[in-house]
């Protein structure tokens, strides 16, 4: 009976209200993502040291706030004597670049194929859907490991592998939406007025799909970053000495008892970006279309 008659809010922090505000305007995640993007772009200017520059005397140096720490290596040094902070900064570049490239490729290919399958139907549709089903039937890690046996692990390999597994979800969702939009009256009107199929696809159907694709893309970023870091951690992703966060954690693993910072900070970086992107993706989805909740 009370909320409508306007009861005075009690003193103290109303948990729901704080969360509610945070959910409505995702300031913190956006700030984090922007910050990381800027760091990634301006890495050479921001990083205090070169990521591959190893100083023998700085091996396993602890972070600056400890006793043996030094202000040169703010987050400490790794087992070879490289500055962790700089490596993390350059690692941002790697992670974001991989994610952006994979998403661009996957979303583009997936959308194109999805619209084609949905709009033209028939045998094209069938073949495409079988292909999509096949990629769902094969677990990613398997392919990644086998690929690592056949080809040398490299940045390009990682991107290609991830892209192969990224386009099917887009294709599937875009196809479903294309089918729905195809049945709309304004498409029928366009056809009747003599618009070519290509024109209909671009002008009428594509704009309707864009929001979904955007939401999907934002939801995938987090998973992509984690997957890439997993591959690098296992040793079948981006090879050393490139400062990918996953391989940094792997290297630091052996020194956990003595030099915990080597493995710790890269993981925090991964967490920050994935968390922010997941949060943003959820927010985007809830704002644009809550019906997509299942994604």
């Amino acid at each position: 009976m009370s909320s409508i008659t306007g009861k005075l809010t009690p003193k103290g922090i109303n948990v729901a209200k704080v969360f509610g505000t945070l959910r409505r305007w995702p300031i913190i995640p956006v700030a984090v993502v922007l910050f990381l993007m800027i760091i990634a772009i301006f890495a050479p200017l921001v990083a205090p040291h070169h990521p591959l520059e190893a100083k023998f005397e700085k091996r396993n140096v602890p972070p600056v706030w400890t006793e043996e720490g030094t202000s040169e290596y703010l987050m400490g040094g790794d087992h070879i004597g490289r500055d962790i902070l700089s490596r993390i900064i350059f690692g941002t570049r790697i992670s974001l670049m991989v994610a952006a490239t994979v998403l661009a490729a996957g979303a583009f290919v997936g959308t194109a194929l999805g619209v084609t399958a949905g709009y033209f139907g028939g045998i094209v549709d069938e073949i495409l859907m079988r292909l999509v089903d096949f990629t769902y039937a094969v677990p990613f890690i398997l392919v990644a490991l086998v690929a690592a046996v056949i080809w040398e692990p490299s940045l390009q390999l990682v991107i290609i592998l991830l892209a192969i597994f990224t386009w099917p979800p887009f294709a599937r969702q875009v196809r479903v939406e294309t089918l729905q939009l195809k049945a709309m009256d304004y498409v029928a009107m366009a056809r009747v007025s003599g618009a070519s199929s290509l024109r209909i696809a671009f002008k009428h159907i594509l704009p309707g799909i864009v929001p979904t694709v955007m939401v999907m893309a934002s939801l995938q970023v987090g998973a992509l970053v984690i997957t890439e870091s997993v591959l690098s951690f296992l040793g079948v992703g981006i090879p050393a000495p490139d400062p990918s966060w996953g391989s940094m954690v792997a290297q630091g693993r052996n020194y956990v008892a003595t030099a915990w910072w080597i493995a710790f900070f890269p993981g925090v970086a991964i967490f920050l970006i994935v968390f922010s992107m997941n949060f943003l993706g959820d927010w985007l989805r809830d704002t644009l279309d809550p019906k997509l909740r299942q994604l």
């Binding site: 009976m1 909320s3 409508i4 008659t5």
Partner: protein, 339 residues
């Protein structure tokens, strides 16, 4: 039992006894939406007598479904809330009952059937399971007794070969049959009051008449009082003894069906009646009410119908008209009827 000689509207006159089984007094239900406060039900009052059929008519969004949900206390509660009024049944205000008591009342004393039978039935459970539920809960039946009752129930609503049907799933039945099952579930425990929320709206026209006849028969057999919600005045003529016309959350006219048809006293009622095409008339255009349905979060001051009313005058914009008596048990909320 006296029936009028007029074949087009069968009404039962004189058997409605004066016992009031449901009394709604000043019911108010509000919704908090992102566009503002929606007063979906804003002071609705009516009485329902034993065995009577009361029609609740109005356009989509006028608040008739929300009224039904409010009586059943099934209003979805984060956005909506009952903020005032009383609903009296057997002397008790059920709005004050706690949830446990209310759960016991639902299905047994007061029941509701929904509009779309495909979505009203749970797709993953079979017919027996769903049809027997109310009986299991309120009458404590089980086993063989229960099964027999369910078969009898289905037979009552004229479903052919019920013994076979009971193991079917909702998607295996036709739309008409599903709605019969829904109806059977509604009356399964012989409720005092049955609320039917647009039960024929999603049925084919050919099955509609059959279903209405079925409902009427069932009602006569059980003596249940029926609240019939619809937007179709034609159905009102066929089914109801009394009718309440709703607009923008309020009742704007209420009275016996005969009286209202003979002398509609609210411009909206008049418009509704006119929009039912009569078979004998030759018309060039279907009558449609001018203007748009009201935006419920942003209602004008004064009478809510004023923007669309052909008889509007200045007073209508200033003050919302009170319900004025215009005949025997016949009231209307319109300044034109004053004096």
């Amino acid at each position: 039992m006296e029936t009028t000689g007029d074949r087009s509207r069968e009404t039962v006159v004189g058997t409605v006894d004066e016992r009031v089984v449901l009394e709604v007094e000043g019911l108010r239900t509000h919704f908090v939406t992102r566009w503002g406060l929606v007063k979906a039900v804003d002071g609705v009052s009516f009485q329902l007598h034993a065995g009577e059929t009361l029609g609740l008519v109005g356009e989509s969004g006028c608040g008739k479904s929300v009224t039904a949900l409010s009586i059943m206390r099934l209003v979805p509660s984060p956005p909506g809330q009952i903020v005032g009024g009383r609903v009296l049944m057997e002397g008790n205000d059920i709005l004050q009952a706690d949830e446990h008591e209310m759960t016991q009342l639902r299905g047994s004393k007061i029941a509701m059937i929904l509009q779309d039978p495909m979505t009203a039935l749970n797709p993953v459970f079979n017919i027996t399971d769903q049809a027997s539920e109310a009986l299991r809960i309120h009458k404590g039946l089980s086993g063989k007794d229960l099964k027999e009752q369910v078969i009898a129930m289905l037979r009552r609503v004229r479903i052919p070969a019920p013994e076979i049907r009971i193991r079917d799933y909702p998607h295996q039945l036709s739309g008409g049959m599903r709605q019969r099952v829904v109806g059977a579930i509604g009356i399964s425990c012989d409720p005092l009051v049955l609320i039917a929320d647009e039960p024929t709206t999603s049925l084919d026209a050919t099955i509609q008449a059959q279903y209405l006849r079925l409902l009427k028969d069932l009602q006569q057999q059980t003596g249940t009082a029926l609240v019939f919600i619809t937007h179709d005045f034609g159905i009102v003529a066929k089914m109801c003894d009394r009718v309440a016309v709703m607009y923008a959350g309020r009742i704007v006219e209420q009275g016996d069906v005969r009286q209202i048809f003979d002398s509609p006293s609210h411009p909206y009622t008049e418009a509704l009646i006119n929009s039912v095409p009569k078979l004998e008339e030759k018309i060039d255009r279907l009558y449609a009410i001018e203007g748009q349905p009201p935006t419920l979060w942003d209602l004008p001051g004064g009478c809510s119908f004023a923007p669309r009313c052909p008889y509007v005058n200045d007073r209508c914009h200033e003050e919302y008209p009170s319900l004025l008596t215009v005949g025997d048990r016949h009231v209307a909320a319109c300044w034109l009827r004053e004096g």
